[in-house]
């Protein structure tokens, strides 16, 4: 495991040359099945957005050209979200380094979070309906700061439990009082 090194093996050479915030190391990706959860979410969003704009357009609530523009916008947004869903899922990653948990997500708005293990207050494991159907779980690492927001979605059930146990035992050895 590479520890705290900037010049570690890059994930993709082209990306490192770019101006993207990228921390090297051995990033673990979440399960590919999580794309399914994302797609269902996007589909629901699309259903509501397109349906609502369509209904409002057909019932002449919106002035005519404007209404169809809105419908078009909803359709385009949904399609774009469908298209980027796999990439968004691929952008989610985590790393267990020696002393901290590293987490990243987002394509356009990218975020990299580092949480020292000792700062753990509790760990949540949640399963939504679709995720449960696919055998996935979501792990939330909670610290005393509300803004930490480390939520790793799309972990295979057994992985999530194992990761939780690992994190708890790591935190136990590096515990810091609040």
């Amino acid at each position: 495991m590479t520890d705290h090194s900037n010049d570690a093996v890059p994930v993709d050479p082209a990306r490192v040359r770019s101006k993207r915030v990228e921390v090297g190391g051995d990033w673990k990706r979440v399960s590919r099945k999580y794309i399914g959860v994302e797609l269902v979410g996007v589909a629901l969003f699309g259903l509501v957005a397109i349906g609502a704009t369509l209904v409002f357009s057909l019932t002449r609530w919106f002035a005519q050209p404007f209404g169809w523009i809105l419908v078009g916008a909803a359709v385009v947004t949904t399609l774009v979200m469908f298209a980027v869903a796999p990439r968004r899922v691929r952008s989610i990653g985590y790393q267990l380094r020696d002393d901290d948990l590293l987490f990243r997500r987002g394509i356009m708005f990218h975020r990299v979070v580092s949480v020292p293990y000792g700062r753990m207050q509790l760990i949540d494991i949640n399963r939504g309906p679709v995720a449960r159907f696919l055998g996935l779980a979501e792990l939330r690492f909670v610290t005393a700061a509300a803004a930490t927001g480390v939520t790793i979605p799309g972990l295979v059930d057994s992985d999530a439990d194992a990761l939780r146990d690992t994190l708890v035992s790591l935190a136990e050895t590096r515990r810091a009082g609040l």
Partner: protein
């Protein structure tokens, strides 16, 4: 009534009772008023009932003529009696205990509550003396622990005992046992003894001396470590605040409207706003009057208040973030204010809000002193210049080993004015963030208190090869975030800060827990550094 029965020491680990005037202070005053009112009204009637005399025409008279007076009196008296008994019982049942592990409070008659706060989790201890309670010589002690609405309140205790109690609790908490006896004895003796020594021995005399006594006992802290604020400067700082600016703008608008308009009636709509605004100023003033911050053996002590005095003691290492800031209008006077983030989080009422203002208004010298109290590591010789640089200067100050890393020049597209000021520094055990040209801010976060940190990058920042660095701390008025930093530089900083945070946390963990009862520790994995 006002002579408490509680033993002088919290020791022994036995259950203790609160100040006997507690029921009165907790709302019993209303009960007394009702009793008084009833008695005043009924007394004549009672006399008349026996002596026999007509006249009158109020409720009592009505009842009397219908022959229900007896019942009415019985009901009212019964209710009152019930109230008195309930208050008395709740006082009897409300006990607290302090041992060397936790502070426990039991309360409630029907629904019993038992609350326990571990000593090593105490975030701060606040003592409040509301005006009426001060008349009774009582005070309220609040132990705050991290978590929503998680505090243990001991209301009310005998005023002269409270300071010693806090001292003992903090001594226990910092695992220095009370066998160091001489020091607590000296301060406690000073606190309890001074009224007796100076004032007459009578009850009234003692109360008067207590009321007139300085808010901060001079024996408690070395005077050179005390920072105070003159009332004049406080008034000036309030006048030069943004709120005043807002009021002036509103006043000008109103005057213009009235001068050009026809009706004046709508002005009455502003009466509530006016009252609210006046209340804001009064609250601000009363909260900041007689402000003092001092280093005591137990931690940093912040005291304030004119009639209702409060003071708050923060044990070392309970400060999560510090911000030194300067509102625009204060700049000509070179005034600064300091506020902090802390973990004790009060959700109920503004009165019980833990004090986050460490300096309402002060000069540069005061800021230096207060920062020295709050973060002693920062005031060392090789980092002291950073504070000044963080407060007023921009760019880099040559000639020092540790300095602010400024934002790159291309950041001017996003921060046309403040990009030169934007910068961070990793100084010893704290991270300093400097920002703002118009509203100058300097944020210091102790590395051991950083909960997590993250880098953000949106599309605009990506185009300019910039990113945003945020240090997450517990909720509070200070937010430690710095945008428009150079990407590669902040990646290095991200690494360095996360390593510093881990190291500081591990270091402190050892020192904090050293005196606690041994806990079963799981074996450390070998990848431990």
């Amino acid at each position: 009534m006002t002579e408490p029965v509680a033993p002088p020491l919290p020791g022994g680990g036995e259950w203790l009772r609160l100040h006997p005037a507690t029921p009165l202070l907790k709302g019993g005053i209303a009960l007394i008023a009702v009793i008084g009112f009833i008695l005043a009204n009924v007394r004549e009637r009672l006399i008349e009932a026996f002596v026999g005399g007509p006249d009158g025409g109020d409720l009592i008279e009505e009842l009397y003529q219908r022959g229900h007076l007896g019942w009415a009196i019985a009901i009212v008296l019964g209710a009152l009696l019930l109230g008195v008994v309930a208050f008395f019982l709740s006082w009897r049942m409300h006990t607290y205990r302090i041992n060397d592990e936790a502070v426990e409070v039991r309360s409630g008659i029907l629904f019993r509550t038992h609350r326990q706060a571990r000593l090593d989790r105490i975030q701060g201890i606040a003592i409040t003396r509301p005006f009426i309670a001060r008349l009774f010589g009582a005070a309220r002690l609040e132990l705050s622990v991290a978590g929503q609405d998680a505090k243990v309140q001991l209301a009310y205790l005998k005023g002269s005992d409270v300071d010693r109690l806090r001292h003992d609790i903090l001594m226990l908490a910092s695992a220095r046992r009370a066998e160091e006896g001489v020091a607590p004895g000296a301060t406690a003796g000073g606190a309890a003894g001074s009224p007796d020594a100076t004032g007459p021995d009578s009850l009234i005399g003692r109360r008067v001396t207590e009321l007139l006594a300085p808010e901060l006992d001079p024996q408690e802290a070395p005077p050179e470590s005390v920072v105070r604020i003159s009332p004049l400067r406080l008034a000036g700082s309030l006048l030069a605040s943004g709120a005043t600016l807002f009021v002036l703008v509103v006043a000008v608008v109103l005057i213009v409207v009235t001068a050009t308009g026809r009706e004046l009636g709508f002005l009455f709509l502003f009466v509530p706003a006016f009252i609210g605004g006046a209340g804001y100023y009064v609250r601000k003033v009363t909260r900041s009057l007689r402000f003092s911050i001092a280093a005591t053996p137990d931690g940093v002590r912040v005291g304030y208040g004119l009639l209702t005095t409060s003071n708050d003691t923060l044990p070392p290492g309970r400060i999560h973030a510090i911000e030194v800031y300067q509102p625009l209008l204060w700049r000509p006077f070179d005034w600064w204010a300091i506020r902090i983030n802390r973990a004790g989080h009060a959700s109920s009422g503004s009165g019980s809000q833990p004090a986050t203002t460490m300096l309402p208004v002060g000069t540069r010298g005061d800021v230096d002193k207060v920062l020295g109290l709050l973060l002693p590591g920062l005031a060392s010789a090789d980092t002291r210049h950073l504070i000044l640089a963080g407060m007023v200067s921009s760019g880099q100050t040559p000639g020092f080993a540790v300095d602010f890393v400024p934002a790159p020049r291309r950041a001017r597209w996003l921060r046309p004015f403040s990009w030169r000021r934007t910068g961070y520094a990793l100084a010893g055990d704290a991270v300093l963030l400097r920002k703002g040209l118009v509203w100058r801010q300097l944020v210091a976060v102790p590395a051991a208190r950083i909960q997590s940190l993250h880098l953000d990058q949106g599309p605009l920042s990506r185009a300019l090869d910039l990113c945003t660095l945020t240090l997450d701390t517990v909720a509070g008025p200070v937010s430690a975030s710095l945008s428009v930093l150079d990407r590669t530089g902040s990646l290095a900083a991200f690494d360095a800060i996360s390593r510093a945070a881990t190291a500081a946390g591990a270091l402190e963990d050892g020192s904090q827990r050293v005196a606690l009862p041994a806990e079963p520790q799981p074996p450390r994995p070998e990848n431990d550094r």
